[in-house]
Symmetry: C3
Subunit: 214 residues, 3 copies
């Protein structure tokens, strides 16, 4: 299926570049040095795809062996470092790119899992992991709680986008054809969440007193 394979590569390249830029920006803000920013950008860009491929046994991961992926991630991290003051002024553009990145990676992750024969539930989970994995790795490396788990709504849109790709074959659509609607749905939900300032719902109150117990 060469068509969907090309789709996969293009989705991955754009996603890795946006992720690389987002990771480098966080690294700059976190006070990392030049090489640290490059590396954190690369890890953010390819981290989700790496995790997915390791879990699927698709090793060595394409994100590592394909020089185009590495180049996209590193070039974006390099550019983002130098354009940092500019990018901070256009925060909305960065947020939008970030939402597009989430949509692209979630559907690409779910699509690859489906292609490699993973069962539906695992494919949806792998879509979510691919979508948010880079951001989680980035936050762990700058030593803060992952924002995707604590404040911002990322898991829900990644879940919806992955669900579209995984359920499409049951409705008679090929998974490949469902990537664009899936990515659009994911990105749209994310953009609405940003615009409306939605925060994920929290069950009960914080129970700080018990924080230290296991």
């Amino acid at each position: 299926m060469p068509g969907s394979s090309t789709t996969q590569v293009v989705l991955d390249l754009i996603g890795i570049a946006v992720g690389g830029a987002a990771g480098a920006l966080t690294a700059v803000r976190s006070g990392m040095h030049y090489m640290g920013c490059l590396l954190l950008g690369l890890v953010t860009g390819i981290g989700g795809a790496l995790t997915r491929d390791v879990l699927l046994g698709a090793v060595p991961p394409a994100a590592l062996t394909d020089w185009r992926y590495l180049t996209a991630g590193l070039a974006a991290a390099l550019l983002a470092q130098h354009l940092h003051p500019l990018l901070s002024r256009v925060e909305r553009v960065v947020d939008l790119a970030d939402a597009v990145w989430l949509g692209l990676f979630s559907v690409a992750g779910a699509l690859k899992a489906v292609h490699l024969g993973a069962p539906p539930m695992a494919s949806v989970l792998l879509g979510v992991i691919t979508g948010i994995g880079g951001g989680v790795l980035r936050d762990v490396l700058v030593d803060r709680k992952p924002v995707v788990l604590t404040q911002e709504i990322y898991v829900l849109p990644a879940l919806l986008g992955s669900l579209v790709v995984v359920t499409a074959p049951f409705l008679g659509w090929p998974s490949g054809a469902a990537t664009i609607p899936g990515a659009l749905l994911c990105t749209a939900v994310r953009v609405v969440a940003i615009r409306r300032g939605w925060r994920g719902p929290v069950v009960g109150r914080r129970d700080g007193a018990s924080e230290s117990s296991r």
Copy 2:
């Protein structure tokens, strides 16, 4: 060996459910939102087994492809979130479940490593990794030092449980038959450690002044 395989599945399912609940409770206390709690619960529940399977090359890991495992982890995380105020009142029950979880996962991890032909020393280490891996991942994701490494005694019981499973064949017992005594020993040591308030011994004093050097 269908018997030990069924044993493995049952041990894994119970362990994943208890881990999922423990992870979700920590996530709620850490102020994570609804989806974050679900995901952190799932990661805590299946994290140890995922790490073991990736290291053994048993990919895609059963914890990911088997819908029963995912369902057990997610359902337990869901329930624990909603029962959070109740569970906080029965801290002792949670501690006990946690000790049972440690025992189940340690022996299940060592058993799978033995079955896949890993050498004894690696199998013991994989038992420990399976037992404490989910808790370590959870603590990294809520941005704190893993309690299993800093305060509480988890490594020692996991080590003892794994040792029982791995050394059993040398004494003429099949590894499968050693799972129940191994898990019981691990859980018993953990429970005694909780009851007596044991803390792991620390070598020398803390040397805070040098903390920032590599």
Copy 3:
């Protein structure tokens, strides 16, 4: 090629021992208990090689199945714990050992990637990952920003050492023969960086106000 394979094993063993000692020292300073220090030492020692092997699909990783590696890491972590007050007085020796460790692991990582057929760019990256991976894991587990990304110059020497190994075949040298010059170059750059007190360059100023945005 038994020669390069023996080289690989010896490089790995020394590297794992030095890494194990460095990890255990950090763990002691971070207030971890006895078992925590042993485990953190082991993870620091074999973490880089484990990550490389998992990414290359060389599983189960030799660092896990070969009892010599586990023994080297654990023995070094054990010794370092007990010699902690002594080692703190000879900080320069520890720094030097650390620089040797970086050199050994970077070239060993790149060499294995080349041997397993990874493309040049991926091999260089895997050399860097092997060199700094253990230190990054260690810092994540003691809950601080990885010093290799924020303060100290580690990535550049690891990159240079890996480049020597990976580019050697293009200049008519076997990769194996390039390991010693590669490791020496890496260690030399690291030692100079320590002596001169070099810090990695930072792009622009810290932008603390935007820290909390994604």
